[in-house]
Assembly symmetry: D3
Homo-oligomer: 287 residues x 6
Amino acid sequence: MEKNIETFLGCDNEFEESRIVIFGAPYDSTTSFRPGTRFAPKTMRSESFGLETYSPYQDLDLEDADIFDSGDLELCFGRPELALKDIENRTAEIIDCGKIPLMIGGEHLVTLGAVRAAAKKYPDLNIIHFDAHADLRDEYLGAELSHAAVIRRVWDILGDGRIFQFGIRSGDRSEFKWGKDHVKTSLFGFEGLDEVISDIGDKPVYFTLDLDVLDPSVFPGTGTPEAGGVTFKELLAAVLKVSKLNIVGMDINELSPMLDQSGASTATALKVMRELMLAVYDNKFSE
Amino acid sequence: MEKNIETFLGCDNEFEESRIVIFGAPYDSTTSFRPGTRFAPKTMRSESFGLETYSPYQDLDLEDADIFDSGDLELCFGRPELALKDIENRTAEIIDCGKIPLMIGGEHLVTLGAVRAAAKKYPDLNIIHFDAHADLRDEYLGAELSHAAVIRRVWDILGDGRIFQFGIRSGDRSEFKWGKDHVKTSLFGFEGLDEVISDIGDKPVYFTLDLDVLDPSVFPGTGTPEAGGVTFKELLAAVLKVSKLNIVGMDINELSPMLDQSGASTATALKVMRELMLAVYDNKFSE
Amino acid sequence: MEKNIETFLGCDNEFEESRIVIFGAPYDSTTSFRPGTRFAPKTMRSESFGLETYSPYQDLDLEDADIFDSGDLELCFGRPELALKDIENRTAEIIDCGKIPLMIGGEHLVTLGAVRAAAKKYPDLNIIHFDAHADLRDEYLGAELSHAAVIRRVWDILGDGRIFQFGIRSGDRSEFKWGKDHVKTSLFGFEGLDEVISDIGDKPVYFTLDLDVLDPSVFPGTGTPEAGGVTFKELLAAVLKVSKLNIVGMDINELSPMLDQSGASTATALKVMRELMLAVYDNKFSE
Amino acid sequence: MEKNIETFLGCDNEFEESRIVIFGAPYDSTTSFRPGTRFAPKTMRSESFGLETYSPYQDLDLEDADIFDSGDLELCFGRPELALKDIENRTAEIIDCGKIPLMIGGEHLVTLGAVRAAAKKYPDLNIIHFDAHADLRDEYLGAELSHAAVIRRVWDILGDGRIFQFGIRSGDRSEFKWGKDHVKTSLFGFEGLDEVISDIGDKPVYFTLDLDVLDPSVFPGTGTPEAGGVTFKELLAAVLKVSKLNIVGMDINELSPMLDQSGASTATALKVMRELMLAVYDNKFSE
Amino acid sequence: MEKNIETFLGCDNEFEESRIVIFGAPYDSTTSFRPGTRFAPKTMRSESFGLETYSPYQDLDLEDADIFDSGDLELCFGRPELALKDIENRTAEIIDCGKIPLMIGGEHLVTLGAVRAAAKKYPDLNIIHFDAHADLRDEYLGAELSHAAVIRRVWDILGDGRIFQFGIRSGDRSEFKWGKDHVKTSLFGFEGLDEVISDIGDKPVYFTLDLDVLDPSVFPGTGTPEAGGVTFKELLAAVLKVSKLNIVGMDINELSPMLDQSGASTATALKVMRELMLAVYDNKFSE
Amino acid sequence: MEKNIETFLGCDNEFEESRIVIFGAPYDSTTSFRPGTRFAPKTMRSESFGLETYSPYQDLDLEDADIFDSGDLELCFGRPELALKDIENRTAEIIDCGKIPLMIGGEHLVTLGAVRAAAKKYPDLNIIHFDAHADLRDEYLGAELSHAAVIRRVWDILGDGRIFQFGIRSGDRSEFKWGKDHVKTSLFGFEGLDEVISDIGDKPVYFTLDLDVLDPSVFPGTGTPEAGGVTFKELLAAVLKVSKLNIVGMDINELSPMLDQSGASTATALKVMRELMLAVYDNKFSE
């Protein structure tokens, strides 16, 4: 008999043949309000069996896509630097094999570890960032490594003009003020996305998708829900556009299963993940 | 003193005078993911007292409509054929008295029992099917009597060209492929509904409404929520159109009260039910 | 060391300097269906720390607004008249100091206490009423002081032509019939709001906002959710318009935290409250 | 077809032949902390189908006991006096037919209505009171008709030496002080119960059972759980003893289904109810 | 990189070296009341990481025990016979390799499949059965394959004098009556267990543990909780005694994670499982 | 009008007159399993109004006890050292005024900050530690500042023979092994407590009470519930004994309100807290 192998639905290929490699980053140690995103990778994997492998949106099927699920990292709580190092290492390992990492958070801070690895490999990296929150604080209650400061830390690496935010509708005044000079922010929705995509062209892109960009009606299962977000159809259209870029890394984060009594938020996260994987797998850069 | 009689709000007429007869089919034995729809009839009946009898949408009132609530069947779990037989018998009993049955599920498989009775009485029966899922599998893990195969079983009875699906957005590839040749499927919404209604004319119609056709934002309280569904206003408009057909049987299914912590999904199911009953009661075929 | 002071986020000014004064009315004794709105003031205050003080919608910040939080009343359950008297007294105390009260309910009946005080001070008071329910019953199960009769009781004070309802989609037939002759009701949404605002001009306005005017997809955390409501964006736009009137009192009510497992309804209520406070603080009548 | 009749499991006899008559008093308007006991009668009736009719403790079966379920009263919220009058009337109607009423609360205040009727019929009435709380306040926040004052109101009718409390472990200092002179209170458990039973002899007894006498480990589903209560086995033994007295009225109250996510508290309430009904039905006074 | 392997904590040995082999039977299709035990195997595996491998009760450690986790069966809902066949086959496969199967249910019906395999291999098999419910019905609503009839079906195989029940406190009258002639039942607790153990000697034993034998205070997370059960310490002592018998198969069933909001029932199930595995692994028959 | 002051029930004295000073340490950043203890101080303060100030166990009343509630610290997540420093400072500030700090956690790591301050002031400090878990790891996944290592860190300060553990029933093998040589551990309950109390005599004691020492039946609302714990009555008796020592600091920790759907765990925590405060206030060292 074989040991019990568990993967995301339809992501049971071998590492070597895969173009996309999934891993979980179950970490929420710096979450300042409602915690629980640490449970997202396990819950999403487990609940993925309620999903179909086939997408009627793209007429594509996960059964035809070579995707590998490498399981979850075991991350140190209380010492963010250690956790980020482990994330960076796993990301680098995947990228170095010519594959595209898809990290499932966890709180948004995990993105920093993955971007560190991606930026080392691709110095001309751009960031597409979907989120309700600007995440541009310089520090939060004394912590520079905080979910609320993660995009600021990413900027520390990449500098001006390389970060493109969409859907933003929350932050303190200083974040918005600082942001105007250093990143491109589209408030409330996806206005300007086509132009950004056109400007980026073939340059390598890391795509970080904080699911709270969705309206809380669609996605209540997250720690800091922000009314006034985008609909599922708007998000799906935007994801399909971004997926045509030269994606070299990506993550989906901030699902909090403890806040998802009905399971609908988890199901929605999984559908977004399926569509993203299929579209990236199917784009010209992945071939 | 009288015994304790409980009916859906405003549905306390006598059987003989009624045009519409409600019954519950509290069955979810083949549900493969999250169970619990067995609790829908009782919960909906109990919570109906939070609803008003009057509809400001149609300016009609349940107090003026002769509707009878015959309570819930007691169905055998573990032997679907027995349960379906009981459902078929109750449906036939109602239809044979010239009344319109309204069955409250339960999982979607219960529709098969009701359609068997309706198709015997009305050989030229058509099916209007609102759902997120195609339900066209030939079998599911060895079971031909499964919620995931129910419309396929209905097709076994009715054959090609008699089944009209709307709102479908989930299924495996083979279902969509098979469906193209045998049923008419409108993806994601209600496109083409007017034409279907016009084509059907006054032929007898069984209307089966799987509430997960609604977007999970509106209706999270169901076992397999599928993002990308229709809004309440879109559903209401479509239901009012269908209600003008020659409805000979109908059902509402897949509410799962255990997944509805706030009660909002149950309340929404009840409002859809009220509008459906009022509109069917008020149409020209019911007079 | 100082005692533990807790206020709504950013509402920690001194009473004397403040233009707006918040208080909680934790009362739901006449709620006939699902109770629990009594917990709204405490829960909203506590959860307000998940909110930002800055509004990207209005480019205003609670840190710049002089708002005072006077805490919650301790109200007698079982004797509505006593509770209403306490509410009236607190409201009068605030109004008499030339400040604008913002009451956080509780069930909708609490509005009656506040309107009594406001109408004494401003005999030409008008009411803007956002709600799913007409609340125009003459009595409910023998109680004239009931959440379902509150606007009728307000009419007892103000008479015809002074009450403007928006978003209404539930009530019994008699309420709608009575309402046609005595109040102005806009069904389902905000049609006609611009005209009403223009007609009111500078006259004093009490604004009562029952949060169940929102669609249950956006706001499931309330006792009698009614499908078919307005979106957050529609509500925000309407609130910003009303806020430009000569507001002399206002309330937000009917959040029920026990029904808000994810916290998203509470967060939405808080965002509405922030935008309302900022807009009223910033209007020409407040200066 | 017959209308939908719903009764507590095994309590489907005709009124005339019955010795015990059940009714629900779904009222919790004066509850000062967590509300929700209004849902107990409906929920208990609905969940009773998870129970067996047979008791292995007493080797008795509800199928052999003539018990009638007369359904729930519809009580006015916000005006306790009206609600109490309705309860008194229903109780009197049952007692006047020579039957024993079993009322299902609701909050504990409902007991007052039933005791009023019982004391009229039986001037030498005694009260056995199981509870965590003394309920001996003279008033609560200005209300004399309050769950926290209910036994004090009962004392107003019966006077000294007729009230026997067991399991009490919460109250304010003044209640305990007052109680020493007017009622007999056994703290924490059932010490002294045998003696009380022996002293009462065959005098008529009203038995009021506040389920929060149980330890919260056994019965968390109640509004004000108090650690340090009795076990199920201790309660069962005490109930069986009390049931041998000349019971002329009884009630079970303070289950709050909204706080009973697992359903275990409701199931426990139902088992206590079954054992109580069987034992009273089987005692020498009922024959 | 390796695929994602998930096992119960400390049960990550190879099949060949293992004495005990775990598998999950996620099936609850015949559950007549609250469903959800299908989620127990996955949830227990996932939550096992909150447990320690070391037992201070036995001074033994799972790290020293060779145990293999073979994952969960995928079972057909709606056709119990198919599901039971799959369970029988997996059990036979393990037994035929000289190993001890430990099945995690699922509803109690799953035991029948395992006992069929064990009884084939060991014709002199005895059953130790811990449960709140007798499970001795001949059929339930027409179904002979029902959780409520499972021990009766086991008796069909083994006949009189081979089944020993403990903790039983629920059933209909006919079950108790029938049981007196055919099985040995100890009501409410473990009285007589020592004698049974002594009588069985080294005959092969299948041990089936329905976790609802525990009091609902300890174990609310199950579909039909029955007050009056045993404490954890009583169960642990009894399990350790049974574990010294010649165990040839065992199962743990009826945890329902959807009813376990706090996670405490799942944690308790896991601790029972750990102690059972360690004790059986350590007994003289396993060496 | 005054600002909104919120304190634990009956703890509204002035700092100067108080013997006991409460503060909250809402921190759970290193929690490795289910997080959420950060919400305990706020939730306990808010729910304390469901408690009585009077203890029938001790015939003492919080109204007679001078206790001050200094509110909650705002602690940095992600950098435990910063959080511990803030806790140490607050503790020192209280101790230096000759008062006894009572800290409400939070995860158990917070104890380290308080002990650092207490040990500086009282070099001969002893620790009484009630807990389910040994908390004696040297590090956990690379973190030395972890809830699972907190008593080991305390030992780093105090050394051998000064730490007395009770109720311990979980840990890895190495913890138990190491513990034998360095601390005194009583497994499963309070055996030996009288002797320890007698040995300690007048020496200063810090009392740390991890509420998961209680059995999960009594206290399910905690992150890592461990079956086999003590009852409320056992804990109460032990707390009353410890309270007679020369207590110089104390804490209560590990309540997780998100896991306490019924509120019963919070209510139990509050009752323990009341009894502890009254007993310490009333002991001879406090006079």
